[in-house]
């Protein structure tokens, strides 16, 4: 496009950029509201997970050894699973909190809507999903530690039961996630197939 087109004025004396800003003022406001609502509700969830996961590692099942302070069940495999899942859930939920916080404190300039805001939302949602999944893994592992002596079959229903909320979350949040990915990382609307060519 010729650069001179940018400086041309319409009959009301506005350049294209002025017209764009004027016409999209409402949409920017709406977009800001939508972003803030989404981010704050996701952030609430991420904060809860962080709190719980932080506390969980210090109140391990089976209690601690009084003299050394190490957990009594340190040797069992389930405990290792629990510890790793707990740490993972904590890290990813903290990342998610930071992402949503950066959305909330963003300046909401017009340009932010092109890349930075949608990408932050994508990362935030992905880490939130990871932390929920890891939280349920940690729960299942704790459950196994507690009931290991009596009920060996408990592993199956527990793992099945804990996969339900994870899949549910995935299905419910997936459309938004896909939209975000598609519009931020996809080929874009101007991508063309060879069949569409004029000549």
């Amino acid at each position: 496009m010729q650069p001179s087109l940018k400086e041309m004025r319409d009959k009301n004396g506005r350049t294209p950029r002025m017209l764009f800003t004027e016409e999209h003022r409402g949409l920017v406001k709406e977009g800001e509201k939508w972003m803030k609502n989404t981010a704050s509700s996701c952030m609430l969830l991420a904060t809860l997970i962080t709190t719980v996961m932080f506390a969980a590692i210090f109140t391990v099942p089976g209690g601690n050894d009084n003299s050394k302070g190490t957990p009594l069940v340190l040797a069992s495999t389930s405990f290792i699973v629990f510890a790793v899942a707990d740490a993972f859930a904590l890290f990813s939920s903290v990342t998610s909190i930071l992402m949503f916080l950066s959305i909330l404190t963003s300046r909401y300039a017009e340009e932010d809507f092109v890349e930075s805001l949608p990408k932050r939302l994508v990362v935030g949602l992905a880490t939130l999903f990871c932390s929920i999944a890891a939280m349920l893994v940690a729960f299942a592992a704790t459950f196994c530690i507690v009931l290991d002596h009596r009920l060996a079959w408990i592993v199956v229903p527990i793992s099945l039961g804990s996969s339900v909320p994870v899949t549910l979350f995935a299905f419910l949040q997936f459309p938004l996630f896909v939209d975000m990915i598609h519009s931020s990382y996809g080929a874009g609307i101007f991508a063309r197939k060879s069949t569409d060519m004029l000549y």
Binding site: M1, M8, E23, V114, L117, D179, S183, L198
Partner: protein, 234 residues
């Protein structure tokens, strides 16, 4: 070809408006192949809804053939008669641009390239209309017309607005609401504006080609200089 008929065509040949899954099936070449082959009976037994998609696709292909055939007859007329035909009673070219029916427009322009210069009563070309109605497929055709695009995009409409002003105006409500979430709508609007304002996107290939030429020319010059120096040393 009246207005209603074309807009009806737009609702159907442009399956992105309906839903993603349908569009996917519609444009899938493998399925097309399966349907025309002898497996079609079996295939439609396995996937019940496929017959409807097939029928629709068949209809669109036939409609497009019909358009091409009737356009061939129109081409036998002389230029001013064609112009008259396109201007009244309705303007098929501009209506097609408005509804994003890229097949119709390519079929017409391929056999009569002068159509890209036509403007409507608001003195907007098909590309201006495509920008105003955010029809990216129609607008992308601008990359195929070479250097003419600089002339066409410089057109101003009767409100003294150029093509960038049209991109600056908010998109039609129906086009905007297809996208979920106000933030993503804003993203789409900004992308449109950026694509138009960035000089690289449209003239990109020219710049790249000349850049490549200059750099390779410099490279060759260097080699020649070195060769000459080597020759003079010996």
């Amino acid at each position: 070809m009246n207005h209603d008929r074309i807009s009806q065509l737009g609702g159907t040949t442009f399956p992105c408006n309906t839903n993603e899954w349908y569009a996917e099936i519609y444009s899938n070449e493998f399925i097309e192949f399966t349907l025309i082959s002898s497996f079609s009976e079996l295939f439609s037994f396995i996937v019940p809804g496929i017959k409807a998609v097939y029928d629709k696709k068949l209809m669109h292909t036939q409609v497009l053939e019909l358009v091409k055939l009737s356009w061939e007859q129109v081409l036998l007329l002389d230029d001013c008669q064609i112009a008259e035909l396109l201007a009244s009673p309705s303007q098929p070219l501009f209506v097609a641009a408005e509804f994003g029916i890229v097949e119709f427009i390519t079929a017409l322009i391929r056999s009569y390239p002068d159509l890209i210069w036509k403007v409507n009563e608001q003195s907007r070309s098909i590309f201006h209309i495509a920008v105003a109605h955010r029809q990216e497929k129609i607008f992308s055709l601008i990359n195929d017309i070479g250097a003419h695009k600089d002339m066409i995009t410089a057109y101003k409409d009767i409100n003294n607005a150029n093509i960038l002003h049209l991109a600056g105006m908010i998109a039609p409500r129906d086009k905007l609401n297809v996208i979920s979430g106000a933030a993503l709508q804003m993203q789409r609007e900004l992308l449109w504006f950026k694509v138009l304002t960035e000089p690289t996107t449209l003239s990109y290939f020219y710049f790249e080609a000349t850049g490549l030429f200059i750099s390779s020319f410099g490279f060759l010059c260097n080699i020649f200089r070195k060769l000459r120096r080597m020759c003079s040393l010996h």
